[in-house]
Subunit: 364 residues, 5 copies
């Protein structure tokens, strides 16, 4: 398989006029919306609020709530996304990026609700291994001063489940920090998902190396090629992630606390490590390709040697036998009784000599 | 096919003295000039104004017109271009760039009419697939405060037709914005044209990969080479486009509104994505070349093995047959009735042994 | 051919002490010196002023002259160069660079005559195709406020002849501008000389590609190598040219008018285009090398297949013939009249079977 | 061997909540803690203070002590690390980096004890050769104004032993300087450990080159591959080290004295030299791979030549012998007594001619 | 040969504590120390002052002396170096760099004698060709306001001898300038030494190219490899030299006059030219490697073709001969007198047909 087909074409159809606020496409799939309000002392989780979204959006958040996190799983439900976008006055360009997949990881800021600082808008792509194949899920995060809105593309499996559980612990550090620390926690979870995938490729490379070293397989090159292609895809995801996280650590933004930036520097170290692993794997896969080529050439050499040894031993003595098969009269030894034995001995000696010669040339 | 021949030479002939304002070459081809005036409430489209260009240029624009967009299709009609250049006081260097194709995508600014801010001048090249072959059309845009002048090289097909239609919709966002937003809309349309072309190459690479994996074709390398060459050409167009759009998003210019710059950032994301796709395709095409080479080497190996197996089985037993064809008297077994059967059995055993040996070496 | 031998060594001998002002080497070759004075209304061209250089240098220039352009063709005439250098107080380091060929293209500025702003000093190298071989001519330009001094290495053919003719036209833009505009005109002429050379290499690559695709030539690789080497040389000239022209467009210098810088930006676009062409050609030549290698490997494969087919068909039936040539008594069929026909039929069947087998393996 | 497996996965499990200060894991292994207090006149070394860590931490340092260096060998003893972290108020993120191995070399600064300047935190990785295999040990250094805390991962062998001995010398320069000079001494010792390792690889490359030049080994490519992989790993360690030391030489930090920065510039020169050695080795290993490939191709060529020579000499004369073995009546020479001798002479002449022909083609 | 072995290890042993000022190693070899004092009007050269160094160092320099140049040849004489270092208060780190070879070229500045501006400290490495092998000599230069101290590693041959001779000329420009101009003269002499070496490699590459084009040598690849390795070493020396000279041209330092910086710019142009030559040579050597590989493949192809032609002609007719050698009764033509002639004619026709076929396939 190649890059997912039609991706590029799908993007092309996304013009300015068709953004959600103007023509929200009705959709069969419903998104799952979860809302968590928390403060150091208290936490409230509302699940499946999409069932009565209007009521939910019209209600005020609890007064004690320090941070509200609304998570939408399944961005193909355009109506739900549009309703949230309207309520929180999300910028149409940002909404377009949320809805139209795939987007390149990026960090941007758009004016938000009035009287509030502009909202940070972050797009990340999380690599996933589904049936051993590399896929990526798009995650979009809006960070306000006290509100975090997240949109998941909606693949099976949820990288943020552990975070939700940890939020319920009274001592969890994230409970005692502001909204931007939640952003850090979310980004950290996404980057941590990359390590098992890197291990997967590390293992496959190691296995392939052992195979190449011990046996000759004529399709080793195809396997190298397959790994290389998937590493390429992974690299295309991780490189812009690195940039995004780097600019988050440097962004001076009213919603980003100093402490969050400190912790994001740690995530940045991890994502750099990922990219460096990938580069090492890339180099290793190139070495493997060299070894495969060398293997094939050695193989040709081996086959040639067998042929040459056989031919070189038998062609001369075959000639000799032919000579004594000629129908000349008075062939030497024709009537000499030990002629045959002498001939055989001579042939054996010649073959032996040849073998010694090959031995000396290190061919055997 | 190679790069279009004579391009370089044609450029060389373009000296300073031969610019249009001094010696406009009379031309057979007429350009098609369209003028659209619009404001949020009203729109007026005049087609084929080239039929009475003088009258058109001498008339004042309607008082209600917020933005005037004059589009010229077919820059080889030097007279028309020169007339417009004179009316709008376009800089001779910019006019030269409009007329002399191909130019490298770039953004520049030239002093315009008196009392007006300098005009932004943008050259873009739009890739087109014509009969499966990559061609590029040059598009030049002059942006004033309330006027947009565009020049199309004049290939069949018009990327801006949908924009014209959208302008007639009362609610279209572009109607409610200034001239620079029209610039954004035009640039966006050009970048969107790249995605189907990328898909075309993605499909060709995928198809070629399947072919290489399943069958051996001795000209696979030539196909890889062809794709590589066209990707190279595409890259030469897209890389400077990326720079141009990047500098548009950063340019502080009186004609460029903040909102336009925000939207251009979005186009910039798209063009980066295009370039990254191209790089991935380039890498994949290199991998394909490696696979083709590996394929050929495997093929040589296969052919060699067949030869070696046949030769190794038959050469020794042929020798034996020759031996018993010698005209010695008293050849062993000459008069022994089962001699022939024994010989045949021996040969069969030897051939079988050889086959087992090859099996053990994994050659069969 | 390789890089011109001894170049490096020749340069090494150029020490500080041996500059022209200290020990001008008497030379057989005379330089040809031309002096043009011009203003919008008037122009005066004096040719061969080297015949009475002293008188010429002692005379004042005409009062009406806005710009004086002195061109020296043939820098090996050290005496003439030294005389001019003395008159115009050229810096010894600059003079050294003029005289000692080859220099790397560069732009520098040296204090000039007293009370004048420092002079711009530009070295450029113009690629020339002489008998299909790439050579470069060194051109040095001193730009003062009202004076331009140019030194040509002195190869046959003069890129600046058209400029001289244009200067005599009353309407020529260069006549109405200052000295720095003449600099622009000279640099523009040099860059324009590059395009036919690029076309030459484009054509050669195209031709070579057709040859490689249609026929097998064992020395294709050498031709690829030759083009590659010349492209390399061209690149070594054009890359520093790009830097030089780039820094000219940025240099804030009293002698460089704003308009000239605007026009130089245009030349800069051209030189970038040249460099990009070169890079594309370089990539294409690498692709050609890959194709040649693939070609050779395919060729080996073809030869091997013919050998294998012949051997595989005949070796087994030859064995059979040998068997029936053995001198055993009671050979089966020895006395059976149709034996020979049966044998022949069997051989034909076997050969046919083999051919079918090869067909099925796609070898025929 | 590949990259150490599971590294990436292990890192992934490191979340924010599990840092040491919250849940120190009880561990079987005890760390070895050494404390050295020194001043120009006096020095006191306390070993194995981990036996009564609590008492040690509650005691005040001697009043005369200018610099206190606490070294912890074996970071897997989380309890000890946690106790020190609590006492010296180390930042939880830094402690996490100390405990979770491997980290990328980096320099960071964290707020330390109140009223003190922020502490510099440096992570370095020291390459070690253990049984000829490349491993790396993580070393973490906290630099305060008068205190240096170091944590060693705990591999056998201690690069800092010579420093400890030198500290006991009254004249040692490090005794007469501040804490940051101790940091320099430690970093210098780590960088110096790289040189014998580089020599190890230089020797292996040299040896491999000699082998490739003198003998043909079919697994030379695997050896090249192995060296290349280890050089890759080493490069991954040294590149970030270079960055770290570079930023140390530039960091304006209250704990870093000017003199230390001067000395660190020297270390920086060494680490650059290391990286350049590595790059040269990398290039050399690529050359070796080319030579191996060329070797294999030459080998195939040799084998082919032997086969071709033998076949070309004997196939024609074998044919001749077969011809005279035909059972036609009236075979020419059948009854001519010298026929056999003539035949033999003819064959010898033909073989000789062939040999001369091969000689002329330079095949022998 | 590889990189000089043990270099890295030797460096590793250089710690801070073992610098010369603390423990000068007594040495067998004596350095040769020359002192030149000069001013425009006067010059005094004292050779072999190492014989009574103490007296020399205690004497004051002549009052008329504008510049004092002390040159030490042979840095292995630690005592002499230490004495000078003490007298001129050279910084221990700088002295360490002078003594411990090899150092990377660099420019640094260290506080010098009191009341004086800091001294510039420059390390350069001069490439030398000794018996056709590339070696480098380390040259260290200390530049004060009126004093230049230089240390040569002490290989045979002295690049600065011509400078010394020139100093004795009354008109020499260096006599009329300050100490920094002497620095320029020394650096210029070192860079000029590179050009003959580049010519040496240019010649070797050219020669090798001719050899590869005209003859096949199986060890061409080794020669390419050897050149490549030496070019690599040269590059490692010249790249940091370029940086050093570049930073000298930019350094604002009280000891560096403006005029010297102007002249150093010229040296900088030369060193850039050297590096560009090297890069071109590197590219050319890669092309040569491609040609060698192509050569070997062509060679295999040739050998294969000869084998295939011989085999394809003779195998079928050998089979025919065998057929007529079978011991069947009633072999067709057995008793037909012209049978043999017909057989021979048939064989000749078949061989001729084959040859025509090969001709048509362009194999002959």
């Amino acid at each position: 398989m190649m890059l997912p087909r039609g991706q590029a074409a799908r993007m092309a159809r996304v013009g300015v006029e068709q953004t959600v606020t103007e023509s929200p496409a009705p959709s069969e799939v419903r998104a799952a919306v979860t809302c968590i309000d928390y403060a150091p002392e208290q936490i409230l989780e509302q699940q499946s609020v999409e069932r009565d979204l209007e009521r939910f959006l019209s209600e005020h958040r609890p007064a004690w709530s320090k941070v509200r996190w609304i998570n939408v799983e399944g961005v193909y439900d355009h109506a739900t996304v549009a309703a949230l976008a309207k309520k929180y006055e999300l910028h149409p360009l940002a909404v377009e990026d949320v809805l139209h997949i795939p987007q390149r990881p990026k960090v941007d800021q758009y004016a938000g609700e009035e009287g509030q600082p502009p909202r940070l808008f972050v797009i990340l792509r999380m690599p996933r291994l589904i049936d051993g194949h590399l896929q990526t899920e798009q995650l979009s995060i809006f960070l306000g001063r006290r509100t975090v809105l997240t949109f998941q593309e909606g693949m099976p499996g949820d990288p943020w489940e552990p975070i939700r559980q940890r939020l319920h612990l009274k001592d969890a550090r994230v409970r005692h920090n502001d909204a931007s620390f939640l952003l850090y926690t979310l980004v950290d979870a996404i980057v941590d998902e990359c390590f098992p995938i890197l291990d997967h490729y590390g293992d496959r490379l190691e296995q392939l190396e052992v195979e190449i070293l011990t046996n000759f397989h004529r399709d080793s090159m195809f396997q190298v090629h397959e790994i290389r292609r998937e590493l390429l895809l992974l690299q295309r995801q991780l490189r812009p992630m690195r940039e995004v996280i780097h600019s988050l650590t440097r962004e001076i933004h009213p919603c980003l606390s100093d402490e969050t930036r400190l912790y994001l520097r740690d995530v940045y170290d991890h994502v750099i490590q990922c990219v460096e692993f990938l580069e090492t794997y890339h180099e290793l896969s190139m070495n493997l390709a060299d070894m495969v080529n060398s293997n094939i050439a050695n193989r040709v050499n081996d086959v040639m040697k067998v042929l040459t040894i056989i031919a070189t031993i038998f062609i001369p003595i075959s000639f000799l036998a032919s000579v004594f098969g000629m129908n000349f009269e008075n062939l030497p030894g024709e009537h000499w009784p030990p002629a045959f034995a002498v001939f055989c001995a001579f042939c054996a000696a010649m073959a032996g000599g040849m073998l010694l010669y090959f031995k000396s040339k290190d061919w055997l």
